[in-house]
């Protein structure tokens, strides 16, 4: 839902970043207001996953320039856990397995960390169990998953549902979902998308990072951005995604080639 | 028969171990080898070291379960075996017969990619892989060094299509048959080698193989060693690997009064692939022993090791599998599995993985199992009408074949399983 007067939640300006010695982001700018759903599309290697990791503060990525304001304040100086507590959520493309750490305990500690960030009281174990059982329904997960170790031995679909469950518990202001649709069959995709739609509201925002149109068939974006070679090449409405689906990414290459001939830096 | 031409052997079997060595050294010196004696200087050094080294006793960890009595019961003389009947050489194989004194390359034309190493280069190269793998001072290596009279040394360039068969048969003669081998694989070279060592009597087959693998080289190495009730085998396989190289060792030994195999591998800069698959059998009063050592001296190395053992009768099987992952060896991936079948209540299994790690980003797993045949599997076969003893034989064969099938194709005429189980006439 686009409301020009809605408050800006995330403002990315000329962001550049590298991993090891390899520059990946070469000047990304993006503004996200409350209530909006954005989709970033692009080929593998275009930098879209890097953008999500930089926003969440992954230590392997070094920001080399630009700014990111989150609710008007500098995001990049915050430790990853402080970003999460402030309401920024990253749904991982490859959720990490953590043997030995129980999913339930993990969810409880994370939920309480976020609640503390919102100035709310900690939930005791009983209150938390009630909450988690309620939120499980959002992703139609079996409570048995709570007793297992974090993501250990989960199928691809189960891992992604576990991500959305975390999103449902952490109640983020900005949710960045990195390739949440990858590796999902059609039923799992519908469940995951249903969860995202359920959680999207006028006060929060969602940034979908995806390769394919099919996620956007079930979650309707307000804005679609096409990324290539570390930059956003074009921004449009949901029809841009359809155009991509129809024409493929080849035109992106052409546009990119034209761009690289232009000496001036394009933001 | 060089040894036979000597005067009466100096010491009788069963004498004190120290005097056994002294007698052996006295008998071994002065035995001339065919052609130039490239080994003379190193032999005298090894002889000196051996004379000063006490026999490995069971107080030493590496020999704790391995009694040398069957060895020191042997005649301390050098053996020159007589040629024995062999299966026909298969197409695609070149067979070299090793008897410890004559030149195995005499009258042989080597296939493209193989050439002998001799002269100064041999002197410069010999012993280097032993040093690199920390094997130079091992007692079986000293024993071999003090007695071996010649060495088969080959350089390998490019891919060699022919399988090299290196064959010895100690026969029923008495004494010691020392064999020394050196293979230098140039970068990107590849070779398949099958060693077959047999015995039919009270003798020792001692061999030391040094193999150096250049970058990207590949050595597929099979070893089949069916022994004799009174025979001994002491085998050291030292392998030094450059990056990108692959060493794949498949060994099977059994039937020896004392059979001990020591594969010792080092990946000098890591980033190489090593595979060890082994089967050892101990029946009667036999001892089958493997002490393997894998050292990663650089990152990204890989080891896959499967060691299988069967102990029956009053046999004793010993396995010690050392894996060393020092700090430089980040991202090492090493897996070792020791699987043991204990088939008799008078047999023994001793198995000990030994993992030493000083690097945090590594995957090292090992496992060990000791049990008899799976009752469920036996029952399943029986429920299909197969008699219990036949079912047990089938399962035992299956257990062995998992390793034996990995031997080079050239092993087939030697009937690996039948020869190890003593089910064929010699």
């Amino acid at each position: 839902m686009i409301r020009p007067d809605a408050p800006v939640l995330l403002e990315i300006r000329d962001l550049t970043a590298r991993v090891e010695d390899q520059p990946i982001l070469k000047g990304v700018s993006l503004t996200i207001r409350a209530g909006e759903i954005h989709a970033v599309m692009g080929r593998n290697g275009s930098g879209k996953s890097t953008l999500s990791k930089v926003l969440a503060g992954h230590p392997a990525y070094t920001v080399t320039g630009g700014t990111v304001l989150y609710k008007g304040e500098d995001l990049l100086s915050l430790e990853p856990e402080l970003r999460a507590r402030a309401g920024l959520f990253l749904g991982f493309q490859y959720p990490v397995e953590i043997p030995g750490v129980s999913n339930l305990e993990f969810l409880r500690v994370a939920t309480n960390a976020r609640r503390a960030g919102k100035g709310e009281e900690e939930l005791d174990t009983f209150a938390f169990e009630d909450l988690v059982r309620e939120r499980l329904q959002v992703v139609q997960m079996d409570p048995a998953f709570l007793e297992r170790s974090v993501n250990e031995g989960f199928s691809g679909g189960e891992k992604k549902r576990n991500e959305i469950l975390q999103m449902a518990l952490l109640d983020p202001l900005v949710a960045v979902l990195d390739e949440t649709d990858s590796g999902l069959d059609i039923d799992a995709l519908r469940i995951v998308a249903g969860g995202v739609n359920h959680l999207a509201g006028p006060d929060n925002a969602t940034l979908l990072i995806t390769h394919y149109q099919r996620l956007l068939d079930v979650i309707t974006p307000d804005y679609v951005h096409v990324m290539a070679a570390g930059r956003i090449l074009r921004t449009g409405g949901k029809e841009l995604a359809l155009e991509l689906e129809e024409r493929g990414y080849d035109w992106v290459d052409a546009e990119l080639a034209a761009l690289e001939r232009t000496p001036a830096e394009v933001g | 028969m060089v040894a036979a031409s000597l005067s009466t052997p100096t010491a009788a079997a069963g004498a004190a171990p120290g005097s056994w060595i002294a007698a052996l050294l006295a008998n071994a010196t002065g035995v001339a080898s065919a052609g130039a004696d490239a080994l003379a200087p190193s032999r005298s050094r090894a002889a000196q070291a051996l004379a000063q080294t006490p026999l490995p006793s069971r107080r030493v960890e590496a020999w704790r379960f391995t009694d040398l009595a069957p060895l020191t019961a042997l005649s301390p003389t050098l053996l020159s075996p007589v040629p024995a009947a062999q299966p026909e050489v298969g197409a695609g194989s070149l067979r070299l017969n090793l008897d410890g004194h004559s030149d195995p390359l005499a009258g042989i034309s080597l296939p493209a990619g193989l050439e002998p190493i001799g002269g100064d280069e041999l002197n410069a190269t010999l012993g280097q892989v032993l040093a690199a793998t920390g094997s130079a001072e091992l007692w079986p290596v000293l024993l071999n060094g003090a007695t071996a009279r010649n060495v088969l040394a080959l350089r390998v360039r490019g891919p060699v299509a022919t399988t090299l068969e290196l064959v010895s048969d100690a026969g029923d003669g008495e004494g010691i048959l020392p064999l020394r081998l050196l293979l230098v694989l140039e970068p990107e070279a590849s070779l398949e080698v099958l060693q077959v060592h047999r015995s039919g009597g009270a003798n020792l087959t001692s061999f030391v193989l040094e193999a150096r693998l250049g970058e990207g080289a590949e050595l597929r190495h099979g070893l089949l060693a069916p022994g004799a009730e009174t025979g001994c085998l002491l085998a050291t396989v030292a392998v030094e690997q450059a990056t990108g190289s692959r060493y794949s060792g498949v060994s099977a030994h059994g039937g020896w009064a004392l059979g001990r195999l020591e594969p010792r591998l080092v990946q000098r800069e890591g980033a190489a692939h090593s595979a060890l698959k082994a089967l050892q059998l101990a029946d009667g009063r036999q001892i089958s022993d493997t002490h393997s050592q894998m050292v990663f001296e650089g990152p990204d190395g890989r080891l896959e090791q499967l060691h299988k053992a069967v102990a029956d009768g009053q046999g004793r099987s010993v396995f010690n599998g050392a894996v060393q992952v020092p700090r430089a060896a980040q991202r090492t991936d090493a897996a070792q599995l020791s699987r043991n079948l204990l088939l008799s209540d008078r047999a023994r299994i001793d198995t000990k993985p030994e993992l030493e790690i000083v690097a945090d980003d590594v995957r090292c797993a090992h496992g060990a199992t000791v049990s008899r045949l799976e009752q469920d599997e036996l029952f399943y076969l029986q429920s299909r009408g197969i008699a219990a003893d036949q079912a047990a034989r089938l399962l035992l064969r299956g257990f062995c074949e998992e390793v034996l099938q990995e031997l080079p194709e050239a092993a087939r005429p030697w009937q690996p399983l039948a020869s190890l189980l003593g089910e064929q006439g010699r």
């Binding site: 993990f106 | 700090r327 980040q330 008078r346 023994r348 198995t351 945090d360």
Partner: protein
């Protein structure tokens, strides 16, 4: 010891037990000789059989060599520089706690082990050992109502000499190994537990060992006997002040379980480990062995080893009785320059005996952490089973994790399975937890406790909840 409040105290600082109690101590001159052995025995008014045991052990010790096979390194120990007996000066052990020197009570208060009537723990009986002697044992009367004997071994020698003569040295003989022989010659105090036939001990028993003197060795001896059908859960804890010299701690623990008896022995070892450069700290050379003498008997060792400069310790089970069960659950954490060579021996003698080994080693800093275990199945162990799992977690690339599982079997109708793996705390896992709002230290703590969960589950409940925090604390600054 096992209440959550006290354990909370225990983990609140890196090493908060480094203080020295200023108390007048009676010591005998340093050095070891037959006269010293006789003097220790005389001070305790021991019966002749015990003096004989000590002297026999001493003479055997003189003939023995210090073991050097473990992957441990330390400068040679000068056994003539050690004081073998040190006791806080007070008269005979007091009938009432009110008469114990308040300084001692204060010391144990400070350690989180209140002994006085008003403050003591409600569900745990505690024997408090200070340097060479036991100064107090709580709840003795209540336990006595059930026929349970829980007292210091010195008192047991006086009050129950028949039991001591019957059991002492029968599990760990006086000449068992170098350090056990030394202990047998000079042991000063320790705990004695006797659970009579059919009795389930009504409360947790616990001994708390405190080294106070700087130049004293600690040689305690613990003996626990569970008669037919009896059961007991016992916990020991240990701390010592921070001295920059090394101190020797050579204890012996013997457990005897008769038919259907069950002994659960838990240790939380937090001796002073030395500073980050390896200066000072305790040499913890301990012999612990349990004998499942009876059919269907059960001995379980659980240990959390976090302290000591050097640990050399293999709590073992000799499974003699048919269907007897041995268990070993261990977490060993080493950091800085600590060295640990620890594990277990499961000796299967009787038929259908079963054993389980779960060992978790965590190596950080420049430390060295070795698991060394023996599983031995004798010819009569028909139908025996063993399962072992030993996992290592490496933190940083300067620490060593070694695994030496010895497996020996002479019994075809038996099954042994051993598994081992290594893991680390990966940057990806840490980031994942952080990205959910979990702070770095807490993320490490969660992962370490997850790694150790199988062992912590075996600890008495109040303690398990806090054990992971103890580990996280020990690891402070070593991750990342």
């Amino acid at each position: 010891m096992a209440s959550s409040a006290t354990v909370g105290d225990l983990v609140s600082q890196p090493y908060k037990y480094g203080f020295v109690t200023d108390i007048e101590t009676e010591k005998i001159a340093k050095g070891l000789s037959e006269d010293v052995v006789r003097l220790i025995s005389a001070k305790k008014n021991e019966p002749a059989f015990l003096l004989d045991f000590r002297l026999r052990s001493y003479r055997q010790w003189l003939q023995m060599e210090e073991p050097d096979w473990a992957t441990l390194g330390h400068p040679p120990i000068d056994y003539q520089e050690i004081i073998y007996y040190a006791a806080p000066k007070q008269q005979e052990k007091k009938a009432s706690l009110d008469e114990v020197d308040p300084k001692l009570l204060e010391t144990f208060d400070k350690l989180g082990i209140p002994l006085s009537e008003q403050k003591r723990l409600s569900n745990v009986a505690v024997d408090a050992v200070f340097d060479s002697v036991s100064i107090a044992t709580t709840y003795r009367e209540k336990l006595a109502e059930h026929g349970v004997i829980f007292c210091s071994i010195s008192e047991a020698v006086k009050d129950h000499p028949d039991l001591i003569e019957k059991y002492l040295g029968t599990v760990v003989p006086g000449n068992d190994n170098y350090f056990a022989a030394l202990n047998s010659a000079v042991f000063s105090d320790g705990s004695f537990v006797f659970i009579p036939k059919g009795v389930e001990c009504p409360m947790e028993l616990s001994t708390y060992f405190r080294i106070n003197s700087g130049d004293t060795g600690q040689f305690e001896r613990t003996l626990i006997v569970a008669e037919e059908g009896a059961s007991v859960s016992y916990l020991e804890g240990c701390t010592a002040p921070m001295f920059d010299t090394n101190q020797l701690h050579a204890a012996v623990v013997e457990l005897v379980a008769l038919d259907d008896a069950s002994i659960k022995y838990s240790t939380v070892q937090n001796w002073y480990a030395g500073d980050e450069n390896g200066k000072g700290g305790i040499y913890n050379f301990v012999t612990k062995r349990g004998q499942c003498r009876g059919d269907r008997s059960h001995i379980s060792w659980t240990q959390v080893e976090t302290g000591s400069a050097i640990t050399w310790k293999y709590p073992s089970c000799v499974l003699q009785g048919a269907d007897s069960v041995g268990e070993f659950y261990s977490v060993a954490l080493t950091n800085n320059r600590q060295q640990a060579d620890t594990g277990t021996k499961m000796i299967h003698v009787g038929p259908r005996t079963r054993s389980t080994i779960v060992s978790k080693g965590i190596s950080a800093g420049h430390s060295s952490n070795s698991y060394r275990g023996l599983v031995q199945l004798g010819p009569k162990a028909v139908g025996a089973r063993n399962y072992s799992q030993c996992d290592s977690m490496l933190i940083g690339d300067q620490a060593a994790a070694n695994t030496y599982p010895y497996i020996r079997s002479q019994q075809p109708d038996a099954r042994i399975e051993h598994e081992a793996s290594t893991c680390r705390i990966s940057a990806d896992q840490l980031f994942y937890l952080q990205s959910r709002g979990i702070a770095f230290e807490e993320a490490v703590s969660m992962m370490v406790s997850g790694f150790c969960r199988d062992v912590f589950n075996q600890l008495p409940m109040e303690f398990a909840a806090e054990a992971d925090k103890l580990l996280a604390l020990k690891l402070e600054g070593s991750v990342g």
